[in-house]
Each structure stands twice: as structure tokens, then as C-alpha cells.
């Protein structure tokens, strides 16, 4: 039907990073992957290779995955030097073999960042993202304390923009792609999503200050505005949000210093 939808089977060589554990030495190992169907997904190819390894009595390649439809953010391979591999706006699990040619050598590596320590083979630990969320990625509203949802109108444009930012799947490809291993795109997406909504205003300054501080402490690098992150982001989160966060952060920093201070010492009585 479509030109590249050939159904001819083909073969590639996979050059995969193997590392038994965080403190073990790692190296690239080549595996042939034969009899591939162009409609197969990249992860399905890894499944097949893993089954062959298992039958041979070798340990299969550990790789992270779950939903296999680009929404959970679990999958995280760097394929031929690009986090999530070929294609725009897709996660590793949405890469199909029709993006490769017969005889290709495909290099598969884990996401690399000090803040994402390696767990095994292609799996890294992205807990740092959770820590950033815990520092302020929320609106403090106890269950049951909410007023009627329509009591807070949100201009459609703001809601749409907030949704653009909120679409982030927390995969970490932005960090993996950034030459500085900076987490700015992820954090900016979070900060912007909540900062764009009226509900998010009371904690807006506190949030951005706390989340950036936690980001820095986690050992991510520093952005130099190169926009590699947004180019590989599976949800095409715009780096405009980084500019927005920069502004928010600097503003919050100054506001935090030049705001009158209340001397009330909490709910006495």
C-alpha cells in the first residue's frame, strides 16, 4: 500500500551494550538478528533476539519497557546515537523495523547520565525524576477539599498549552540527548503545566524554586540552549517551556527576596 511497507524479511546486526550491574564492566556485544519483518517493532526484535539467547543458555538483554505504545515512558534505548532512535515524536517502543535496512548495524545503548545510574544492560534508574516531582511537582489539595470543577474557569489556550507540557511521559530522553545531560526540558514541562493553570498559582514560586534546586542536586548538567532535548522528545515538548521556566525561576528568586514578610507565627490559639 505504502512504498516502505515492504514485507520482505531482512537481517541486521545489533551492537548492544551489555553490563551485568552498576559496578561491573560493560562492553558492546554484537548479535545477529535475522529473519526480521519490517512491521515488527524494535522491541519485538529484542524479544526475538532474547528468546534465541535464552534457548542458547545465555542471559537475555535487559531492557526497560511496559506499555509499548509510547505513553508510559519506560522504554529507554539510545539507538544509533539518538535516544529513542529514528523518527520524530516517538518512543523506542514506537520504532518499527521499516526504519532500518538489510545489513545495517544498529548500536543500542542505555540512556547515559550520572543522575540516571545504570542498573543493567540497557536499563537505567530514573528515580531522580520522581525526586524532582516530590519536591514540588504538585498542587497541594487534599482529597475532598476541592470546589466545583467549573468554579475555576481556565482559558482554553492556557489549558491547551498546559496540556502540551503535561504530555511529558517522563522518559528521560531529553537528559540522554542533551550534551550537558541537563533535565531542563522535563522540569520545565512539569513547572509549566502547573504554572499555566490558575490552580497552580499559589505555589508557583515555591514550586519552581524547589524543583530546580532538586534538579541541580540530583547531578544533572546545565542547559546551554542547544535544543537537542526537544528534538528527541517523544511528545515533542517545546523548549519554549525552558524559557518560560527560566523566567519563572528568576522572577521567583527576586520575588522571594523582595516580598514583604509576614511575622505571623502560625495558627496560635
Amino acid at each position: 500500500m505504502v512504498a516502505n511497507n515492504s514485507t520482505k524479511n531482512f537481517s541486521v546486526t545489533l551492537r548492544v551494550w551489555r553490563q551485568a550491574g552498576p559496578d561491573q564492566p560493560g562492553r558492546f556485544v554484537d548479535y545477529p538478528a535475522t529473519n526480521l519483518n519490517p512491521n515488527m517493532s524494535f522491541l519485538e526484535m529484542l524479544d526475538v533476539v532474547n528468546d534465541e539467547l535464552t534457548v542458547k543458555g545465555e542471559e537475555p538483554i535487559a531492557f526497560a519497557h511496559d506499555c509499548r505504545e509510547g505513553i508510559c515512558g519506560t522504554c529507554s534505548c539510545t539507538i544509533n546515537g539518538k535516544p529513542h532512535g529514528p523518527g520524530k515524536g516517538v518512543a523506542t517502543c514506537q520504532v518499527y523495523l521499516r526504519s532500518f535496512k538489510d545489513g545495517d548495524t544498529i548500536v543500542v545503548e542505555p540512556f547515559r547520565a550520572r543522575a540516571f545510574p545504570l542498573v543493567k544492560d540497557l536499563i537505567t534508574d530514573r528515580e531522580a525524576f520522581d525526586k524532582i516531582q516530590q519536591a514540588g511537582g504538585f498542587i497541594s489539595v487534599r482529597t475532598g477539599a476541592a470546589q466545583d470543577a467549573n468554579a475555576i474557569p481556565v482559558p482554553k489556550e492556557d489549558a491547551d498549552l498546559a496540556m502540551d507540557a503535561a504530555a511529558c511521559i517522563g522518559c528521560g530522553a531529553c537528559v540522554a540527548a542533551c550534551k550537558n545531560a541537563s533535565a531542563m526540558l522535563f522540569v520545565a514541562a512539569k513547572v509549566s503545566h502547573l504554572g499555566l493553570m490558575p490552580q497552580g498559582q499559589p505555589e508557583r514560586d515555591k514550586r519552581v524554586l524547589a524543583m530546580v534546586q532538586t534538579m541541580d542536586e540530583a547531578g544533572f548538567g546545565n542547559c546551554t540552549n542547544q535544543y537537542e532535548c526537544s528534538a528527541v522528545c517523544p511528545k515533542l515538548i517545546s523548549h519554549d517551556f525552558i524559557a518560560r521556566m527560566n523566567r519563572d525561576y528568576i522572577g521567583a528568586l527576586f520575588r522571594s527576596k523582595f516580598k514583604p514578610v509576614s511575622h505571623a507565627s502560625g495558627g496560635a490559639g
Binding site: 547520565a113 531542563m184 527576596k257
Partner: protein, 268 residues
């Protein structure tokens, strides 16, 4: 949150300082270029201008210190952030390390910055301190006597008959050496490359950029850089190629003219 603490320790804070100092430096180099372009006018103009600057005394030193502080902060932030970013990749790098779309200028900011730094040191040695080409340094040249009084924006720069340092000749003499000129050209070229990303980056870092403006901002930045580069190229370029000759009666005209006829002529 401590304001100053956070500005000097957080990632965004230091980037912000870099952007602000960068902006000051852009302001300086722009003004400096405009000042330097006076070389194409009467010798009175640039010499009067230089004399005026020198005569500012403590104000000049205040400006110099401020600029120095900006350079220092800019470089400190650049180094500190870069070192952190290097470490942030982690113990093992990529087997295949590829760029996806970052602009070429952005990839070489550290390199272009370093060359600019090297240039700056040389340049100060050359035209401010006078150790690079001591023989043609303004201090070693005979004073220039102002032919007319010079005014700019209503401010008197120098009065007729003042004896002022002959910056005009210094520049002509300095740039008549091809190696010196070429180095200047390469350096301002790299500075332009630095600014190409730097100006864009400034808007992003300070949060003034957005998709709506990015195209326009980018074009403004590119236009600025082209003009800046051409302006800077013009001075050594014109002197080196001989398109512009020193005005008759200046020391440089005398020297260069003499140099072309009697290469071994002694200095007066």
C-alpha cells in the same frame, strides 16, 4: 532561598548571570566597534575620542573594573557550568555520540569563548599595555596634535592643539602586519560565532524567547552578527589590503610610506 546564593549556585542562576554579563559585553563590543570605525575618519576623530576616554580617569577605571568583573563572572560561570555538565554525563559516555539538530555555533561556545579570551589578552597587550608590538604602541609614538577641536553629541572630546596619543597611527601600524591582522580577523570571526548563539541564548536564558518570537529574534541576531563581523573585518581588512591609507601627515603615513620605499629606515 537566598537571592545571591541561588544566583551564584543554581544552574539557572548562573546561566542568568552569564546572560547578563554577556549582554554587557555585547554592549561593550558594539560600542567599541562604533568607536573604532572612526579610524576611517580624520585622525582627529579617533585620537580625540581616545583622548577623551583616557581623560575620564576614575570613571574609566570604574567602567574598566565593571567590564572586568563581567568578564570574570562570565568566564567563571562558563567554566563552572561546563565542568558540572561534563561530569553529568556520568562515568561512561556514548559509543555513538551524535548531534541531532543543535546549531554549529552552539556546539563550539566554549571553544569560541576561549579564543575570544586569548584574543582579548593579546589585544590588551597590543593596544592597551603595549607589550605585543611595543615599537608601534601609542606610548612609543610621537603625540598627535589636534588640528581641530573635537565634539561628539555636544560633549567636547579634545581641543585644538591638544597633544594626544596617536591611536590612529598605532592602529594603522598594528594592522599593517598581515599576521596580526589575520589573527584579529579570525578572532572577531569566532567572537561573531560566539555571539550568534550567545544572543539567541540570551533571550532563551532570560525567558524572553518563545515560539512566536524565536524566528524574528533569530533573524535580528543573525543580522546583528553579520553587521558586527563586517564592521570588524573592515578595519584590519581595509588597512591590510591598502584600500584605506593613513591620512597624509600622520606618523603612520610617514612610516608606512617610508617602509615601502626604504625598508631599513630608522625610527625618528
Amino acid at each position: 532561598m537566598h537571592l545571591f546564593g541561588s544566583l551564584f549556585t543554581s544552574s539557572i542562576g548562573r546561566k542568568f548571570l552569564m546572560a547578563l554579563t554577556g549582554l554587557v559585553l555585547v554592549g561593550f563590543v558594539t560600542g567599541h566597534l562604533v568607536g573604532n570605525l572612526q579610524i576611517f575618519g580624520e585622525p582627529d576623530r579617533i585620537n580625540g575620542y581616545a583622548h577623551f576616554l583616557q581623560s575620564l580617569g576614575p570613571v574609566l577605571w570604574a567602567v574598566r573594573l565593571f567590564l572586568l568583573a563581567c568578564v570574570a563572572i562570565h568566564i567563571w560561570a562558563a567554566v563552572a557550568l561546563t565542568l558540572e555538565s561534563r561530569a553529568a554525563r556520568g562515568p561512561v559516555g556514548y559509543g555513538v555520540d551524535k548531534w541531532v539538530q543543535a546549531s554549529v555555533a552552539s556546539r563550539y561556545m566554549r571553544l569560541s569563548g576561549l579564543v575570544v579570551l586569548a584574543f582579548l589578552l593579546y589585544h590588551l597587550a597590543h593596544f592597551t599595555v603595549g607589550v605585543a608590538q611595543a615599537e608601534s604602541f601609542k606610548g612609543a609614538l610621537p603625540k598627535w596634535t589636534m588640528l581641530e577641536s573635537a565634539r561628539e553629541f555636544g560633549i567636547p572630546l579634545a581641543t585644538k592643539g591638544d597633544e594626544v596619543p596617536d591611536v590612529y597611527s598605532m592602529v594603522f601600524l598594528g594592522f599593517s602586519h598581515p599576521v596580526v591582522s589575520l589573527f584579529y580577523i579570525v578572532a572577531v570571526g569566532l567572537l561573531t560565532v560566539h555571539l550568534l548563539h550567545g544572543i539567541d541564548s540570551f533571550f532563551q536564558t532570560t525567558g524572553l524567547r518563545s515560539a512566536m518570537w524565536s524566528g524574528l529574534l533569530r533573524r535580528v541576531a543573525v543580522l546583528y552578527c553579520v553587521i558586527y563581523f563586517l564592521g570588524n573585518l573592515a578595519i584590519p581588512g581595509a588597512i591590510l589590503t591598502g584600500l584605506v591609507k593613513p591620512a597624509a601627515g600622520t606618523y603612520a603615513a610617514h612610516q608606512l610610506g617610508a617602509a615601502s620605499t626604504a625598508s631599513n629606515s630608522a625610527r625618528p
